[in-house]
Amino acid sequence: MDSEILRLDANPVDYFIIACYFAVVLTIGYLARRQVSSSIDFFLSGRSLPAWVTGLAFISANLGAIEIMGMSANGAQYGMSTMHYFWIGAVPAMLFLGVVMMPFYYGSKVRSVPEFMLRRFNPTTHLVNAISFAAAQLLIAGVNLFLLGTVVNVLLGWPLWVSLVAAAVIVLLYTFLGGLTAAVYNEVLQFFVIVAALLPLTLAGLNNVGGWQGLVDKVSSGPGGAEELGVWPGNDLTGFSSDFWSVVGLVFGLGFVLSFGYWTTNFVEVQRAMASKDMSAARRTPIIGAFPKIFIPFIVVVPGMIAAVSVSELAQYKAAGGSGGSTGGSIDYNDAILLLIRDILPNGLLGLAITGLLASFMAGMAANVSSFNTVFSYDIWQTYIVKNRPDNYYLKVGRAATVGAAVAAIGTAFFAAGYSNLMNYLQQLFSFFNAPLFATFILGMFWKRMTPTAGWVGLVLGTLSAVTVFILAEVGVLDLPGQGAAFVGAVAAFVVDIVASVIVTMFTEPKPDAELRGLVYSQTPKAERTEERVGENAAWYRSTPLLAGIALVLIIVLNIVFA
């Protein structure tokens, strides 16, 4: 990004607002740290948080780079079909996680997704999964760090690499000061700050373009045309020219494989639910998170669309087909929300918006780094490298891993910098890492015959097939310009993983039933899979299936309204 073009004019009031926020969060971190006793407290916050807090933290952990910059960039480029990432690509999977999967996670008291793999399959599967998970976290941390660096760059004008290093140091300080409790508090606070800044931005932006009707008119006459106003069939997004295949790609690629893979197996999110105080709260965590998730796109995607029609540089960039345009090539879709903030918000609200952005990217990266830390210190170091040391030793390893992760993220941030629309990059990563994991997971959870060898063979072949699709798309054998390559890659990984697992299972020895209790659906007594609906959990508004049903009806209605 060129610092001469995009600059936010922050004044002392704005800096004061930013400073207040970080003072509050670091104070909480300090206070929380004084209560940290054993390592389980540090990693899972001692399982004591109420469901609405973990629910908000659950989506806030994901309300970083991906949602704010990535989704507004997507909104600017593709319009309303970006809504799929929320209504098709997130909510159903979050509901599934709460209703079906959470009992296994919470009930078996594993500390990480790889640990679940270890107990269901074998050490090889566990190691494969732990390594691929750790790699994914480092790459995604790079995306968050890049965006954090971008905001620092826009704000202060420092060169990108200096901004990156500064941002990494801030995240490290913050992670060390409090562990997960502080991270969860920050995520919840940041959620409100973001909403407080983006809601006025959206309303004022809409007002400026002449209300909703004004936006509709301007988008219809813009380069994307009226197609950008409906969510279906989303051809631009998928890169498929056929409407039918576009819908199939969205529903199976994004809606099923990518999103279920992401939301149900990504420990950054699952870890938030594991911090809840009981089974009922753990199950409600993703479902409570689903409600804000349904409405967040209105203050994220819509501003991106507004920016694409009202900010002159971005409109020119889009008219030129997203390739530089007459502004000198320094603006791209990732800047959509920053451009709109620059054009609309007065000092004061500007400070609030910057605070929200900084806090959310920081939270995103801190979440990546802390789950990398968990997986590295427990699943790799403690299990395979240095065994049987006191808890204190592994806490120290965890801290060292955190520093290492931050340094590595500075490197991966430069990969992310190469993409004009970061969502394309992120979906690509998810197709490599999450799609095969989900296939193995779901098969292993419902099919008790599946063997330990099938576990790791499926994972390895699944990832390799997604990488193959990526390479074919990069060299031009497959022509999928939008996010279609990632969707196809995800489906390929899923199918290959399932087929390979089934074949390998036929020739290898399954685990005895007794070892699968609590890990496979049919081997787990119903009492272990359900929460006790007594005391405060008896209230109707704390019923998991009912809340999930309401959320499901909401997304169906929204899909019809915005079809």
């Binding site: 009031v13 004061f16 607002i17 207040c20 926020y21 509050v24 909480i28 206070l31 006793s37 054993s38 389980i40 407290d41 001692g46 004591s48 109420p50 807090v53 009930g107 008291k109 508090y185 919840v188 606070l189 409100f192 700050v193 407080a196 006025p200 004022a204 007002n207 400026n208 105080k277 009981d278 089974m279 054009d343 609309i344 918000l345 007065p346 000092n347 004061g348 609200l349 609030l352 009492a527 272990e528 929460e531 006790e532």
Partner: protein, 96 residues
């Protein structure tokens, strides 16, 4: 499952689980105070420091003023919630 229940009380006080009010560390109080404080800043900015250029950017709407009022209201609601339904944190037995 045994672990889904609250940790067993280490001290018994008249049959109740030992617990303490979360007080200032209750996240609702923190949200309420932070948001309310931000609301006050924006309100002051909106009332006394709004330039014509600011107004022009938003077609004449005083964004700071209205956002400030909204934030103060939201902050007060959170403080009220925390006050009316105080959070009770069970005392943790040492270690796990």
């Amino acid at each position: 499952m045994p672990d889904q229940e609250d940790p067993p009380p280490n001290v018994s006080t008249r049959g109740q689980k030992p617990s303490k009010r979360a007080g200032a560390l209750d996240i609702r109080s923190i949200i309420g105070m932070l948001i309310g404080f931000y609301g006050l800043i924006l309100l002051v900015m909106g009332l006394f420091f709004t330039s014509d250029a600011d107004l022009q950017k938003a077609e004449g709407v005083n964004l700071n003023l209205w956002s400030g009022i909204g934030l103060i209201a939201a902050g007060l609601l959170f403080l009220l919630w925390a006050k009316l339904r105080p959070l009770r944190v069970p005392e943790e037995p040492a270690g796990q």
